[in-house]
């Protein structure tokens, strides 16, 4: 509840009258000041009564295309909000989308009658599971006060939505028994990957994922869902692209969807998910392991290309510099030749420098996360020097790294960049 400029002006007048009354010891000035001040309190009480009445009388009807939706799919909604038209307040309403959803369009509001407003909008639900709308945001104002109220009563959250997981193609080839016998299906489980759970079959799912025994038992088709990483809790690192290198909207949505899926899978399995969001040499956000699901998905809902202020492509990592020097020495550089001069140049400028601050920050959060592995998502656009830093740090801490890059080109670029770091597995999102 905020006072408007009119209420603030009234308060200034009351203070001026009170100051006059105090200086000149004039009770008439005090009475005038008191009347204005009391009037403001009275207006506040009237406003509060009005908005309480509105909150009590508001009702919502939502028309959604379907109640069972696939993770990441677009859902259009028409929300009809009704309230007591007799109110003296100016009223505006906004539909609150589910906490795990991302708005795909702005809400268009249309007054359909006295006390009736229709809202049209659409959004994408980014996490699987049962969810519901967040309620209604009510904005009311009169000439003296304004207020925004989030109404989250159960009746205002209907209907409930069931979001089924998006089936992401598993990259890599299946395990065959020999030459010419390898299976090329992209939906096979990878080595070391387990079934996380089962769900009902949805049209479009691959028949390869159907669990026929379970389907026969219950008379309905069920499909297997693969887990992301086996073993302990992963430390998920999300690399946001620079605004100048941003991918197309659809491509970035697919990337965000894959990130959401991984975070949700990790959270469902382990109850927590340490999440580091970075862009180049900038740490954007770090969500520690104890954070709740709501905080995680609210953070993920806001990911978008950012403006990178720190680039690491000019930074020569000490470990890499030493590795290059060793390689040159192994090759037996000619005395006075190019190899020796390169080796001495690297030694002079890079071999003994301290680790960059970004690397130190990553090392600290990686150590405090208590994770067993690192899962790094990147669009692989623009400079990738920071990816090398993250992978090196993970290796230094003895954590296996899986890098998932957007598209075959991205996976190829990251693969080439990390060719020297054999411990890192590169997959395609």
């Amino acid at each position: 509840m905020k006072p408007s400029p009119a209420a603030e002006g009234g308060a200034v007048l009351a203070v001026a009258l009170a100051a006059y009354a105090l200086i000149f010891d004039d009770l008439a000035g005090l009475l005038a000041a008191g009347t204005v001040l009391f009037f403001l309190v009275f207006r506040g009480a009237v406003f509060l009564h009005g908005i309480s009445h509105l909150a009590a009388t508001i009702s919502v009807e939502r028309a959604v295309g379907k109640r069972i939706v696939r993770q990441g799919s677009l859902l259009a909604v028409e929300t009809n909000v009704s309230y007591d038209p007799g109110t003296a307040l100016a009223v505006a309403v906004e539909d609150l989308i589910p906490a795990v959803a991302v708005a795909a369009s702005e809400q268009k509001s249309r007054v359909v009658g006295p006390g009736r407003v229709a809202l049209r909008h659409s959004f994408r639900v980014m996490a699987a599971g049962d969810t519901s709308f967040g309620g209604i945001e009510l904005v009311a104002k009169d000439p003296f006060f304004s207020a925004t109220l989030s109404l989250r009563k159960p009746a205002l959250k209907n209907p409930a939505l069931r979001v089924t997981p998006q089936v992401l193609p598993l990259s890599g080839r299946g395990k065959g028994h020999g030459s010419g016998d390898e299976e090329g299906g992209s939906l096979r489980l990878l080595k070391g990957q387990e079934t996380r759970g089962y769900r009902e079959y949805i049209t479009g799912d691959s028949l390869d994922l159907v669990d026929w025994k379970l389907s026969a038992k219950y008379g309905e088709m069920y499909v297997r869902e693969a887990e992301g990483l086996s073993g302990g809790r992963p430390f998920i690192v999300v690399d946001l692209p620079d605004r100048n290198d941003a991918p197309e909207r659809d491509a970035f949505d697919r990337y965000a969807l894959a990130v959401n899926g991984a975070v949700q899978g990790s959270f469902t399995k382990f109850g927590s998910c340490p999440l580091l969001i970075l862009s180049g040499g900038d740490i954007v956000t770090y969500i520690p392991p104890g954070a709740g699901e709501k905080e995680l998905f609210q953070t993920l809902a806001g990911i978008r290309p950012v403006e990178r202020s720190v680039h690491l492509y000019r930074y020569l990592d000490p470990a890499m510099a030493r590795a290059r020097i060793r390689a040159l020495r192994r090759e037996g550089a000619d005395p006075g030749g190019f190899g020796e001069s390169l080796s001495s140049t690297i030694s002079a400028f890079g071999g003994d420098s301290v680790p960059v601050i970004f690397r130190q920050q990553v090392a600290r959060v990686m150590r405090s996360s208590g994770a067993a592995s690192v899962l790094l998502y990147t669009t692989a656009l623009g400079d990738l020097s920071h990816i090398v830093q993250v992978v090196q740090e993970a290796q230094r801490q003895g954590m296996p790294v899986t890098v998932r890059a957007s598209g075959p080109a991205g996976a190829g670029a990251v693969g080439r960049m990390l060719a020297a770091h054999e411990a890192a597995t590169v997959e395609e999102v």
């Binding site: 009770l27 008439a28 009475l31 005038a32 204005v36 009391f38 509060l48 009169d142 000439p143």
Partner: protein
Amino acid sequence: MDGRYPALAVALLGLASAFSGVSGLAGVAAVGVFCAVVFLSPLHSWQWYSHLAAGSLVAVAAGLSSLLWTAAIMLVLLAWVEGDLGLLKTPKDRRAYVLFTVVALLFIPMAGLRHVPLPLALLLAAALAGVGVLAVLWYRLVWTSQKGEP
């Protein structure tokens, strides 16, 4: 609400207080300033504020005669403000303003006190209490809106 009637009422009340008590010349001068503001102030959405400020001057001058004049002028002024801002459209709004008037008149016994500091302290305490009650009610409303029950 037609603004001419409350303006006339304020001017007449100011003149009546000037001629009925000791305010005299001060009261007439205040009414003159008020009339000048009402007639000369440009037509804009904040016109009500200049009227309220000038009317308060008349109320303070009228208080030299009696605090009853002050209370009467302030209540007319605030009714004018409410009408100007469209807050007296329904009978419910008008009843609420009458209730405000009755409660505001309870300030009149302050006339029994000779000096300002004590009633000023009481007024500030009452204002703080009022704001506190409103704050509690507001956060209770926020809580019930979030949870669906008190």
